[in-house]
Subunit: 209 residues, 2 copies
DNA sequence: CGCAGGTTTGAACGGCGGGTCAAGCCGTGG
DNA sequence: CCACGGCTTGACCCGCCGTTCAAACCTGCG
């Protein structure tokens, strides 16, 4: 169709990044080979190196790309909920690995852990991770502020509350993602909501028993 | 001296595991080669494979070994403190990366993250991780129970409190270990202690202002 | 002394996989 | 219809470890 701009290029980038994210999720960063990504994307190995200057760069980009996608999806979902308490509940729903049947089990969190490992030594990844995390805390803080404005939540330092709640979610999610027999998705969900209600200052149930 | 038993063998095992843990901490699991470990241990590469059947086995053992060491050190330290509240404070001190100058910065937490990555795919490591984590939660729960018995803390489900507090520590520690500019060791420490006081039910300061 | 067994060495092997490249494959514009 | 240039292929090269192994090295004992 229209041709002046390099049409396929942008698509290829995304296709490859998507494929890479999928492969990393199921095989792990360490066991991901270029040929795996190529196969998953349905192209030849050589093409991968045509679009990305090195395997390292590809994997780094894929990691931040995938986390970005997740964030955007969550963001979109939450924005259409009006009650701050329900927004918070939905955020927790989406954060508990395997809590919602419609989403994959490991997926997001497995990638996060790979990001952490990499960020320990790769300065660029460290920077990206900090930004990603900041945005995640920010979106919690926004919910808190909205709730405080509407009177659903008690007053308090929204940023500090976001840090605490977000960290609790991180810590619990790790264990759930690892299939810890003591830490089930349900238990995690309950813990998050109760601590949130306690820290932020709201009632768990609107009015029902 | 005495000779019937294989004398040097046990030492060599530990020497190599120590060396491996050190190398993993500074280079990362992915970039750790057998020759690195050999060099760090002051022996030849061949000897490593004489004591461990494969690189994989060596690294797995090194990871759990190192975490074990950390746990034991902390355990010992805490046992000699009498007040439950002070025990808890000490536990938090030791858990905040870089909070105490005398201990290394990354060290423990960097290894934890490597454990997590591995546990996602290696069933044996998954099992070991669960045990390690259970023990960690247990030691928090023990402190809580002690405090409840002595009247320092309010009543409550010690195991559930331990899970929540432990997870919060995990989640915060990750960010501190990554040098997140927003999450300083001091901020993490404060957050842990305040949430602990709130959840568990005790006063932060004994009596002073 | 010299043998025996466990220990230690380091050179050599082999496979794996990232990266390169020369050659084909198109679609487009002349 | 041809020539150009971006896209795509897959075979190939090459360095890097994990692993193996034969030989050397101790140390204690007969």
């Amino acid at each position: 169709m229209s041709s002046p701009r390099p049409r396929g290029t942008k698509d290829r980038h995304h296709e490859i990044l998507d494929a890479a994210a999928r492969v990393i999720t199921e095989r792990g960063l360490a066991d991901t080979r270029i040929s795996d990504v190529a196969e998953a994307a349905g192209v030849s190995p050589g093409l991968i190196l045509y679009y990305f200057e090195s395997k390292d760069r590809l994997l780094s980009e894929a990691l931040t790309y995938a986390n970005d996608q997740f964030y955007l999806r969550m963001s979109r979902e939450i924005r259409r909920i009006s009650s701050a308490r329900e927004q918070l509940r939905r955020l927790v729903d989406l954060s508990v690995p395997g809590y919602l049947a419609e989403y994959g089990k490991l997926d997001e969190w497995a990638l996060w852990i790979e990001v952490w490992v990499r960020a320990l030594r790769d300065p660029q990844m460290a920077k990206d991770r900090e930004l990603l995390d900041q945005r995640w805390r920010q979106s919690i803080a926004d919910i808190v502020r909205a709730g405080q404005a509407s009177g659903e939540f008690a007053a308090g330092d929204a940023d500090e509350l976001a840090l605490r709640l977000g960290s609790l979610i991180d810590g619990l999610a790790i264990q759930v993602a690892m299939n810890d027999s003591q830490v089930t998705p349900e238990r995690m969900h309950r813990a998050c909501m109760e601590v949130a209600a306690n820290l932020i200052g709201f009632e768990l149930e609107p009015a029902s028993a």
